[in-house]
């Protein structure tokens, strides 16, 4: 199944990511975000970072989840290769997400070709029509 697809957006980058489950769609959204900066398939899985985020709704959860990628890049020079074991739970109208980020620290072996400044809510969609689709516009 197609993981993600990009669409024309003048200033920023807009994509849809797909999944059989919400977790899979979130995971593919992370890979789509990363694909704007480096080739995630070429990142070795040497370092792991546990990730935990919260949100008052699914959109806030998604934006917080994707922000983790930028945060770990900026502060730990961590390049995400793949997000594993994603679990999303809802308890009393609060959503939590746990995942394990696998990847590597930046080195000259990797080319970084783009910058994602922030995740925006602009045109953000989360849909479930048999399979899940999340749409995100990121500020690049």
């Amino acid at each position: 199944m197609e993981r993600y697809r990009f669409f024309a957006h003048t200033a920023d980058a807009k994509f849809q990511a797909f999944g059989e489950t919400l977790e899979e769609a979130f995971s593919n959204a992370a890979l789509a975000t990363v694909s704007l900066m480096w080739d995630w398939e070429r990142i070795e899985h040497k370092v792991t970072h546990p990730v935990e985020v919260e949100g008052r709704d699914l959109k806030q959860l998604l934006s917080g989840f994707l922000e983790e990628i930028i945060y770990l890049l900026d502060t730990k020079s961590f390049l995400l290769g793949f997000p594993e074991n994603i679990k999303i739970e809802e308890k009393e109208n609060r959503y939590t997400l746990k995942a394990l980020f696998k990847g590597d620290h930046y080195s000259d072996r990797y080319e970084i070709f783009g910058d994602v400044k922030a995740i925006t809510y602009n045109e953000m969609e989360i849909e479930n029509s048999g399979r899940f689709m999340v749409q995100v516009v990121v500020d690049v």
């Binding site: 990009f6 200033a11 980058a13 900026d74 930046y106 070709f113 500020d139």
Partner: protein, 473 residues
């Protein structure tokens, strides 16, 4: 959409529905075609619906679709009933441009262009995921956020005189880092003194045309082929984090119900949350001023090393492109304090404004409008008309017309470098793909953008500059 042509360079969307004021678009028939293709006009209409907006919502000639506010959007809000919005400033708080002049001509540096660029590339960290040369401790970072470019000068980066030639004199007094999140500080520590990536760049330029010799002379620009250095960058991850944090805080506290776009989230200017955002945004503004101050210092060092001297490398000015500020403006027959949001717009203050340093007060403030990679950039001067027509604002750049993804599909970085070299422009970058994304074909025609600014009168042409060396982040 009801779009009324007022004259050759002004269109209006009259008030309708929830709009509290009309929307005015400064553009040309040619630029308007591009603007109509994306959501710019709808976004500008949304801005016109926000509480406490004054006079009009303005759209600058380089406008394109943003998130919440359009890029190239200007709006002023009443301090009592109005709002402040992180989406009205943007994620890259105080993304801006600093211009240094030199007393060298193109002939002087011709054989050393490559060497200058290579050396600058070594001195000024650029690209994604790589930190800077210096690593601050937390207290030093807090001081940067309070004192801005002043901190940099006190720590040996540049001259006191540079401060005078910086918007806000390099330091927003309202800044307070006490509400910056741990994450914002964590991201700020390794990135101070770095150019970043994306559309950020550093260019060695030469003056190619002077339109207003008298004003140019006041700015220190006196002849064709004079060499200048332009630095374009912002507040890096610290600023982005401030924007994301406050969008979230405002959502959690106020909620986004009823807003046509979640990115229009806002708080009353005078509310505690509104003030906390203003203080934090100002701290990020200061971080960006310090950042450009340090980069300017390194550039001077390189000229000293390669050319033998950095004598006469005065700063022309340093302007913000993404900011909200409390300013005095005269409208409806009286002078009022308003919170002016400029998102992808440059302040354009005319002669006499006290915010402008004395040395420029008789002519108006310098304005820099960078073009796309490898194309011309322009120096303009602020006007009194702008204060009447756009709360003292004009364009900030060329403005994209093509997505990065599309640019990446169509262009190759290696090819762009070859083409630039044929035209006598050296290029260095951290990434070929990054170069392709910034291809000049992906941008509007900057010549047309500044023509509109000049014709409308919101920023008058002073000089045109073209690149001879480009360092792309």
């Amino acid at each position: 959409m009801d779009l009324k042509k007022i004259n050759d360079y002004t269109w209006e969307i009259p008030k309708s529905g929830d709009m509290k004021v009309p929307t005015v678009i400064y553009t040309s028939s040619k630029l308007l075609e591009g603007v109509k293709r994306d959501r710019t006009l709808q976004q500008a209409k949304n801005v016109a619906c926000l509480p406490g907006i004054q006079k009009m919502a303005y759209v600058m000639p380089d406008a394109h679709q943003g998130y919440g506010f359009p890029i190239g959007g200007v709006a002023a809000f009443d301090l009592e009933n109005g709002i402040i919005s992180p989406g009205g400033v943007g994620y890259d708080i105080n993304c801006g441009v600093r211009l240094l002049k030199t007393e060298y001509t193109e002939k002087d540096i011709h054989g050393k262009r490559k060497q200058l660029l290579t050396e600058i590339f070594k001195e000024v960290p650029a690209g994604v995921g790589k930190g800077g040369i210096i690593r601050l401790n937390r207290n030093a970072l807090l001081e940067v956020c309070v004192k801005g470019a002043e901190w940099a000068v006190e720590n040996g980066y540049g001259m006191r005189e540079d401060l005078m030639r910086t918007e806000e004199y390099g330091r927003m007094r309202e800044a307070n880092p006490r509400h910056l999140s741990h994450r914002a500080l964590e991201r700020g520590i390794p990135q101070l003194g770095t150019l970043g990536a994306g559309n950020h760049f550093l260019e060695i330029q030469k003056v190619s045309e002077i339109y207003d010799g008298d004003v140019a002379k006041v700015f220190g620009i006196h002849s064709r082929d004079q060499i200048l250095v332009m630095i374009h960058c912002g507040s890096r991850g610290l600023g982005h984090q401030v924007a994301s944090d406050f969008i979230r805080l405002m959502e959690n506290k106020i909620g986004s119900r009823g807003l046509p776009d979640r990115e229009l989230i806002n708080a009353p200017v005078r509310s505690p949350l509104g003030q906390q955002y203003y203080e934090s945004m100002s701290a990020a503004v200061n971080y960006a001023f310090a950042n450009r101050q340090m980069i300017a210092h390194w550039v001077r060092n390189v000229f000293k090393k390669i050319m033998g001297s950095s004598e006469g490398m005065n700063q022309v000015y340093d302007v913000c492109h993404n900011v909200a500020k409390i300013e005095k403006h005269e409208f409806n027959g009286r002078i009022q304090d308003v919170c002016v949001h400029r998102k992808g717009a440059t302040r354009s203050f005319g002669p006499g404004r006290e915010e402008i340093p004395e040395l420029y007060r008789a002519v108006g403030q310098p304005i820099f409008i960078p073009g796309s990679m490898g194309t011309a950039s322009y120096i303009l001067v602020g006007t009194r008309e702008a204060e009447q027509l756009s709360f003292g604002s004009t364009a900030h750049g060329a403005g994209r017309v093509m997505s990065r993804h599309e640019a990446l599909r169509r262009f190759r970085g290696e090819r762009i470098k070859e083409d630039l070299e044929k035209r006598g422009i050296e290029l260095q970058s951290t990434s070929w793909k990054g170069v392709a994304e910034e291809a000049s074909q992906a941008y509007k025609d900057v010549d047309e953008v500044v023509k509109v600014s000049h014709k409308v009168g919101i920023g008058k042409l002073v000089a045109k500059v073209v690149p001879v060396g480009v360092m792309k982040g």
